[in-house]
């Protein structure tokens, strides 16, 4: 009985705080009046609903804590780990055949392209954050470098997508090294803030250097990728994909082509990462993540190891940026805000930093779900922010938090999350 009273008291206290928090923003609304000033109107029903919901949610939470079933999670975790072996190949097969599923509207292939772009960015950033443990909040800078390299090379020198792709990667890698140099000594949060500052500086330069980048108006008419010189144009005729193969021109051909380009790029990222993890460089990254001081004393060249992580991570960001510019045919500084960096970092961390499969799952959740919620467009970012907080509080180590050691005597065993030191930077 007292328990129920306590619970109600607790929930009432939480509701009181909710009242104070919501009163100015949900209870009142500012609007411009005819006199050119501001006026306020009250929204008592909305406020009452918000406070009431908070009250009920708090009670539900307390009940859940009290009557939570006693840890069946062990079996689930074990089962998930067993099936984990099959998830990755199954996802791969699905990704390969996805565009040819019957009755699939183009919008879904487009969404697939978007998700795959973020998977690739996530995998690229995973090298820096997940493997090398360097917290990077300015990853979007390299995405921007890749996109603008391609856009400028294509519009000024008439180069095509396939010539520019490696160039964009190389330029982004150079920037990665260049921006990596100054931050070699920084650790953890400081590193995060400086990389954030670099990302913002690059965006400000792009926005303000109007004569080169077109400023806020961006760059238009970026050429689309071609298949061995065949264009994907709706006009048809000779020299286009549809004309060469004698098909009717259809937008789905171009979207499917884009889908396979980004799928190939993403798989390349994954393949390179997986291979590097088995090589001395990848092992040095992971050692660096666990303990920088120990690395130094064991003779690992910390400077070069960090710089290669920055450079390789940036290179994949550059590839993704190049693809992004080619996909839309238009880029502007608005696409390279801090929100993009935060989204990609969130994908990496939510997936469980260091886990390749986790990145895929997190990208599907963080990009796919909001895209499905088109009707809730204005609440999309609100839900995104709330989800970040909730997922972190519930699963601070991300979806896939166990890890298989790269090197093991006899049989490799999964390591629990609590034993992994990650992201100390």
């Amino acid at each position: 009985m007292t328990r129920a009273v306590d619970m109600l008291k607790d929930a009432a206290a939480v509701a009181f705080f909710a009242l104070l928090i919501f009163a100015p923003f949900l209870g009142l609304q500012l609007s411009d009046n005819d006199a050119g000033g501001l006026s306020l109107s009250a929204r008592p029903a909305l406020l009452a609903a918000a406070v009431g919901l908070t009250f009920l949610a708090r009670i539900a939470m307390l009940l859940w804590h009290q009557y939570r079933p006693a840890a069946p999670n062990v079996h689930i975790a074990a089962a998930a780990q067993k099936s984990g072996k099959y998830i990755a190949p199954a996802l791969l097969v699905f990704a390969l055949v996805m565009p040819f599923l019957p009755g699939l509207p183009n919008a879904y292939i487009d969404l697939g392209v978007l998700i795959m772009t973020y998977v690739m960015l996530g995998w690229g950033l995973n090298i820096v954050v997940g493997l090398a443990g360097l917290l990077d909040l300015g990853y979007v800078a390299f995405y921007a470098v890749g996109a603008y390299s391609f856009a400028l090379l294509a519009t000024n020198f008439g180069l095509g997508f396939w010539e520019c792709l490696p160039l964009a990667g190389i330029l982004a890698a150079c920037w990665g090294t260049f921006l990596g140099f100054p931050v070699l000594r920084l650790r953890g949060d400081y590193l995060a803030i400086v990389t954030l500052a670099f990302g913002e500086i690059i965006r400000l330069i792009i926005t303000n250097w109007v004569s080169l980048t077109g400023g806020p108006n961006g760059i238009t008419d970026i050429p689309r990728p071609t298949l061995f010189g065949l264009k994907f144009s709706m006009a048809g005729g000779p020299g286009t994909f549809a004309g060469f193969f004698g098909l009717d021109p259809h937008p789905s051909q171009r979207i499917t082509f884009l889908y396979y380009i980004i799928l190939a790029l993403a798989l390349l990222t994954n393949w390179v990462t997986m291979r590097l993890r088995r090589q001395p460089l990848g092992r040095a990254w992971e050692a660096l993540r666990e303990d920088e001081t120990a690395c130094r004393s064991l003779g690992i060249n910390v400077r070069n190891t960090k710089l290669t992580a920055f450079a390789i991570g940036a290179m994949f960001g550059g590839f993704a940026g190049c693809f992004f510019a080619a996909r839309d045919g238009f880029i502007s500084p608005d696409s390279f805000t801090f929100m993009e960096s935060a989204t990609v970092l969130a994908i990496v961390v939510l997936g469980g930093a260091g886990s390749q499969l986790g990145v895929v799952l997190a990208a599907c959740v963080m990009i796919g779900v909001p895209a499905m919620l088109q009707s809730l467009q204005i609440y999309r970012m609100l839900i995104f922010g709330a989800a970040l907080v909730v997922i972190m509080v519930v699963k601070p180590r991300g979806f896939i938090s166990t890890r298989r050691p790269t090197v093991a005597l006899r049989k490799a065993k999964e390591i629990g999350a609590e034993l992994i030191a990650q992201g100390r930077g």
Partner: protein, 302 residues
């Protein structure tokens, strides 16, 4: 000369506002070692509560009373925000690995921005100048150096608030507890200090200071939107780092320097790159002087 003096006046006013926000960053960093990414957004919330209170009181009370009410209500409500943010997003993650609170803080920042955007609209909100007029400091070649009453009010309010704050931190048992937890949380807990309560109070005080900064930002510029917290937050963090993170006088000093740099950069170089200039300073300070101007040198233990 006259132009430089005007930039000095503008820079100091702006710097006071940054200093107030920076104090919140530096306190939280000192006490739990995390960058409270949502702090800039608490500042934005404070500015919005300020504009709401001022709108509600238009015509009801006199201007000074209205301003006082806006400052007090905004500080009190933002204290509640700070307390709740810590309880909801940071406390469950205390002792977790490094990335978790940072991501949670970024999530909270996005959440607050969009909460204000969806509830109050994405439009810029403007108020008229409530304290018009000023005094002319000097006149040269037709250029008038003006210290507006508004700027004077901002400087005075900041000094009063910082005075109260300094008294709390240096002279009261609460301040002693805060400093003890900052130095060594475990030892402080062993000696009977309620660490969690102290951390909560730190968040409340920091958020209240940010709220006051927010209201003064609103008065100074007259225009706010839901996105002002991001830039102001990074600049204030830069100020905290420049002054030496963890050092309270350092935060104010850093804030003043950042304000001056921004004003002089806008006055003599390009306005377009004023934010880039501040960000570059952040990078340069962290690279060459990681402990800042007044900070302690961190000794790395192995």
């Amino acid at each position: 000369m006259a132009y430089a003096l005007q930039q000095l006046v503008n820079g100091l006013t702006l710097g006071m506002i940054y200093g107030l926000i920076a104090v919140g960053y530096t306190m939280v960093y000192g006490i739990i070692g995390m960058i409270n990414f949502a702090h800039g957004d608490v500042f934005m919330i404070g500015a919005f509560i300020g504009i709401i209170v001022l709108t509600a009181l238009t015509g009801v009370t006199s201007v000074p009373l209205g301003l006082l009410a806006a400052l007090i209500i905004s500080a009190a409500l933002c204290g509640v925000y700070g307390f709740s943010i810590e309880r909801v997003a940071y406390r469950p993650l205390r002792g977790s690995f490094r990335l978790a609170p940072l991501i949670s803080a970024i999530g909270m920042s996005i959440l607050l921005e969009n909460y204000v955007q969806t509830s109050q609209g994405a439009l810029e909100r403007a108020i008229p100048n409530l304290i018009p007029g000023g005094i002319t400091l000097m006149q040269q070649d037709g250029f008038v150096v003006q210290l507006s009453w508004m700027q004077l009010a901002i400087v005075i309010v900041t000094l009063v608030v910082l005075g109260i704050f300094t008294y709390i931190v240096t002279r009261t048992p609460l301040g002693r507890a805060m400093r003890a937890v900052e130095q060594d949380a475990k030892m402080a807990a062993l000696l009977g200090i309620d660490t969690s309560r102290t951390i909560s109070i730190t968040f409340i005080i920091g958020s209240a200071l940010a709220a006051i900064a927010g209201v003064m930002f609103l008065l100074y510029y007259g225009v706010i939107d839901f996105y002002i917290g991001f830039n102001a937050g990074i600049k204030a963090f830069t100020a905290a780092v420049l002054g030496g993170i963890g050092s309270l006088p350092g935060a104010v000093l850093g804030g003043l320097l950042i304000g001056l740099i921004e004003a002089f950069w806008s006055g003599y170089a390009t306005v377009a790159y004023k934010d880039a200039a501040v960000y570059s300073i952040l990078a340069i300070v962290l690279m060459f002087m990681p402990s800042g101007l007044l900070g302690r040198h961190e000794v790395e233990k192995v």
